[in-house]
Symmetry: C2
Subunit: 346 residues, 2 copies
């Protein structure tokens, strides 16, 4: 059994029972015990950290993709050792969670051995939150950088058609305290998962984050899904999204330049998403890294604040707070997701 | 003699003569032939690519810092081999150009040998444009990521005081064509060098990119220099700037969290800037990287365009065009910089 990170096992009894249900569903769809556990943990974790767009609202999509044979429930995942530091994983169209779980563990082993780990993955699928894997490396006292691409959602600067995914840039580091620094920021003005949840629940999205398919600004989530999401910061964000597409797609052997299929809408074949995991030992150059990062955070936190701001938060802090809070409670499931459960259990 | 990258040697005769003058000045201030050449090349290159804020307007600053003994003109630079892939450089307060030149060359050697290069630098200074060093790696057919920190210019999200530098994120890759993909994007809405040039020339800056020291939006470049620059994309950009401060400062042993001194205003000691250089062989995972990246760029370029956009440009393309154009012409020097030259040659 894979070790359970992130303390999902410490969540409330109702959450534990929910997780058992999810595991059961995944197993019904052909996943092994271990792969079902890894996948259920990732989905429950997303709910607990408040990333609902990456949580249980996706369960049916994963099962549908297995049914339609575009996710392989019994993958033969190949791990090729390129060097002591570098590994290459062909995920054989596995569910993304499993490929990413193997990859981050390998990146951790490589960095522990040589100081650096570099692991590329091809033939994978959507793996949920990059930050979830970053946490695993950080808990092993490593710095990590993680890149993945995703189906078209964001238009390159100058174009009126989506091509880049929301392509997150993820960076994690130990902080010398129990709350890790986990930056996991998409390159779009809004997370695509959030638009999807808004669309499912008939909610509006903020103005200025997306255009409809005619290139007009829209607050209608359904129209935004058919249209174009805007990158952060114009050409700068577009350049960062392009970088992520190259690192996670072109470099790894995964799909790129708009070829990753939308997991909800396109069952014509596997996604072949690529991921890239980079890990470093924190003490390669300085012996007192933890002291230094603590000092860094301390100095930034004590800066004079904008009126109304109580605390300057580092990336990951809010998520950790939400996780703590949500772990004690029951996970709220939308009526839509409840329906999914009923269908999937049949 | 160090090989001259970037074709500065192909520039017009007047530019060559200007470079000779710059070399002469640097040598007068105590730099060796080789270090003067490296530094002059970097400054002239900045002028040629149109990054005037990083060009000759800085020459006097560097010389002043040497005079005031906060840049060491005769540094004893130590290169420590951590592994075949990893090196650690103590730049001994050298001029930043020289430290960065040694570091990128070492990162290239390490990657050529093992597939990955990781080089950290401490006790360095401002090195000009990250993209200039990225080009060197790309010309050797490597992918590269470069991070450096800088004096306080951008306020962390929630703070009303600058602390982060404009902390560029730099990424470069070969493209299978002669124009490299070089993303070199600062994390502020505007490059600090541009504000500085505007201030020197009494020009206004755009609205919405900076606040004055009282926290009010300003278009006055002088007031902006005393105030706060805004990060791109709110908390996302703030998080990215924080990441760069950690990677280039905390991790390397350099200064961090606002401790890097302003090179123009603060002569109380060396800057101890940190840099981090990462390099990868392009063919670690796929054999046809150049074909793949060509295809990537081709697909993106042929997307339908916004009205008025002739071509979707990849990062680095515009800079290359400016370089080509400016190489044929005489470099225009502002009257302020002309005065600097007169003073420095005395």
């Amino acid at each position: 059994m894979t070790k359970q990170f992130h303390g999902v096992e410490k969540a409330s009894l109702k959450t534990q029972n929910l997780k058992k249900e999810v595991i059961k569903i995944f197993k019904k769809y052909g996943l092994s015990n271990n792969h079902a556990l890894i996948s259920a943990n990732a989905l429950i974790n997303a709910e607990l950290v408040g990333a609902y767009g990456h949580g249980l609202s996706r369960l049916k999509m994963y099962c549908d993709r297995i049914s339609k044979k575009v996710i392989n429930p019994k993958p033969k995942i190949k791990i090729k050792k390129i060097s002591q530091s570098i590994s290459y994983i062909d995920a054989n169209d596995s569910i993304g969670f499993v490929a990413a779980d193997i990859a981050i563990k390998r990146a951790i082993i490589n960095a522990k051995k040589t100081g650096i780990g570099l692991v590329a993955v091809k033939n994978s699928g959507h793996y949920g939150l990059s930050g979830y894997y970053a946490e695993q490396a950080v808990k092993k006292n490593l710095i990590t950088m993680i890149y993945t691409n995703a189906p078209p959602a964001v238009a390159p600067h100058g174009a009126i058609k989506s091509l880049f995914g929301t392509n997150p840039i993820c960076f994690g580091t130990p902080t010398g305290s129990k709350i890790p620094f986990i930056l996991d920021t998409s390159i779009s003005m809004i997370n695509r998962g959030k638009i999807r949840v808004a669309s499912r629940n008939n909610q509006k999205i903020p103005f200025g984050v997306a255009l409809d398919k005619f290139g007009k600004p829209t607050t209608d989530a359904k129209k935004a899904l058919q249209g174009v999401q805007l990158p952060i910061a114009g050409f700068r964000g577009s350049g960062l999204a392009w970088m992520v597409d190259i690192l996670s797609g072109v470099f790894t052997g995964g799909n790129h330049s708009g070829k990753v299929k939308d997991p909800f809408d396109d069952f014509s074949g596997p996604q072949n998403i690529g991921h890239l995991f980079i890990t470093f030992k924190t003490n390669l150059f300085v012996k007192n890294y933890n002291k230094r990062i603590k000092e860094n955070i301390y100095r930034i936190k004590r800066l004079p604040k904008i009126k109304g701001v109580k605390e300057i938060m580092y990336p990951g802090q809010n998520k950790y707070k939400r996780f703590k809070k949500n772990s004690k409670k029951e996970i709220k499931i939308s009526s839509m997701t409840k329906k999914d459960f009923t269908i999937l259990k049949k």
